[in-house]
Symmetry: C2
């Protein structure tokens, strides 16, 4: 049992071979490796899965390579509006925030909602007031908005359309969805999941995607699995995909890889959905699936070596 | 097939025998009957399930007996903040709004999000801007805030706690959850579901409950069922209950009454949840379940007579 921990992180899905603007394959490899190893260190030391997914996602938020926290995409007004959620598989405790600004680590605010509020989900100004109440770190707009996102937003605006994280306007399927997330299985056998995002480029003011929705972009239950999703959020919301994957395990006793696959098949069959998921089941097995041509993710299964998929 | 339509509506769950402040049993009976018969008329005439659930929920919103639209409970600042969602079982199209004010019929705004936006969920000011864009009917605060809610809010404030729709401060379980909802099965065999609420008395600014969350307080899929929930929203979010009920049918082929029962058992087993659900399955069978001692709901099964439960 001493090295029986597992960890998965993801940094987006899409037609990745077309997208080099945000960083090279090597940039992503280096970032993913560093974050996985930091997570491993915590898990080895006996840290709870919930702490580890919060920590890994906050590192992904801090890294401008990803569409979450610093480096988030811009909405129709050229602003960063972020969503995040976290869930503890031990008692199904959950915390979620949506439509927030200037919070350095949205995932930590979601964790605070889980821990310190009577509620699961807080949005907009109310969520910001809650953040202020607890002295959560805020930073000016400059911190979040990076140059490549401004350029991307201007292109989307010019084309007069809402776009995903990266989307070639001529070719509908050439997209990248940069939402980040983590799932973990700790030494006590507890599962947790966390997801964070800046959403969709040029999205409508107040749009909320699947990331902060318990059961859509995130879910964790010690009896089944922990799931984090990335992709076209609306499709994950309509199929309630993270819960679907958990229910595949609940009703059919699938292992993580099969459950991830079944979930993606359901997503495609039901709504022709685009995106991917990472899943750790109650035995610490790791699985992933995506309907996009590529997905960026990394994993450590049962305390083994770090593995990556970067295309 | 000519009279093979079904319809269910609900107006809250709880320890109803203790709660007469909002209206007598007769008041509720009369209101429920009128709304069910209006829904029947539409279904008989061949209206789509989606239109019928929107219409029935808008009537429930207009009636100050219920905690939705006019008569909504007040948040920590004495304001009405409303949430609503609607879903079409035919293609899993969904629309949802949260944290909105002054919109006469939140459910119609949710329908507009379904129909006219690229998104599933809009919140707060962004949702209000979208409403303005489409000329949605707005009314002053006076319209929404009724006297009994002010009194209730003042009591909650005095006690320094967040309360549900109605809650005896001395006795924790003496609550009422007044969220409203409808599910329908039309002559074409399509299912739809809608849910609308004012939330929880003295709730924190920006709190979102299960009602606008696809898979928690509302779900519809022609292949399984249509579900609308009422209860302690956070517990329905953590268990993703509406989707769980749909998955009971997807994986176990349960009929609506058994699926509703299985869902409520899951809610209680997982989080000791309080509330109730209405369910119509893909064959038009009606089912309901609640873990509270009472629930207010009415139904028409396969074009038959109107039935009610008011305690």
């Amino acid at each position: 049992m001493s090295n029986h921990y597992s960890l998965m992180i993801h940094g987006g899905a899409g037609a990745l071979q077309h997208i080099q603007a945000e960083g090279s394959e090597e940039d992503f490899a280096q970032s993913m490796y560093g974050i996985l190893e930091q997570g491993r260190l915590k898990l080895q030391q006996g840290a709870p899965a919930l702490d580890v997914v919060e920590h890994c996602v906050s590192l992904l938020e801090d890294d401008p390579l990803y569409n979450a926290g610093r480096g988030s995409v811009l909405n129709e007004y050229g602003e960063v509006e972020m969503d995040a959620a976290i869930m503890d598989g031990q008692d199904l405790a959950a915390g979620s925030v949506a439509g927030i600004k200037n919070i350095k680590n949205p995932i930590s605010l979601a964790r605070l909602v889980l821990k310190k509020s009577e509620h699961v989900m807080l949005i907009g100004h109310g969520a910001m007031e809650f953040a202020e109440l607890w002295g959560v770190e805020c930073l000016p707009d400059d911190y979040f908005i990076i140059e490549s996102r401004i350029k991307q937003f201007q292109e989307a605006e010019k084309a007069g359309k809402m776009m995903l994280d990266h989307e070639d306007i001529e070719q509908e399927p050439q997209r990248k969805f940069g939402t980040v997330g983590a799932t973990a299985f700790d030494l006590e056998g507890n599962l947790a999941a966390a997801t964070s995002t800046g959403g969709i480029v040029n999205k409508r003011w107040g749009r909320v995607g699947d990331s902060p929705i318990i059961g859509a972009g995130v879910f964790a239950d010690n009896d089944t699995c922990a799931v984090s999703a990335t992709g076209y959020g609306e499709q994950f919301m309509r199929t309630v995909l993270a819960k679907m994957i958990s229910d595949c395990i609940h009703f059919q006793s699938l292992a993580a890889p099969q459950a991830a696959q079944a979930g993606i098949e359901y997503l495609v069959a039901k709504v022709k959905g685009l995106g991917g998921v990472i899943v750790i089941d109650a035995k610490g097995r790791c699985g992933a699936g995506h309907s996009t041509s590529g997905m960026i993710y990394g994993w450590i299964e049962h305390g083994g070596e770090s593995h990556f998929q970067l295309t």
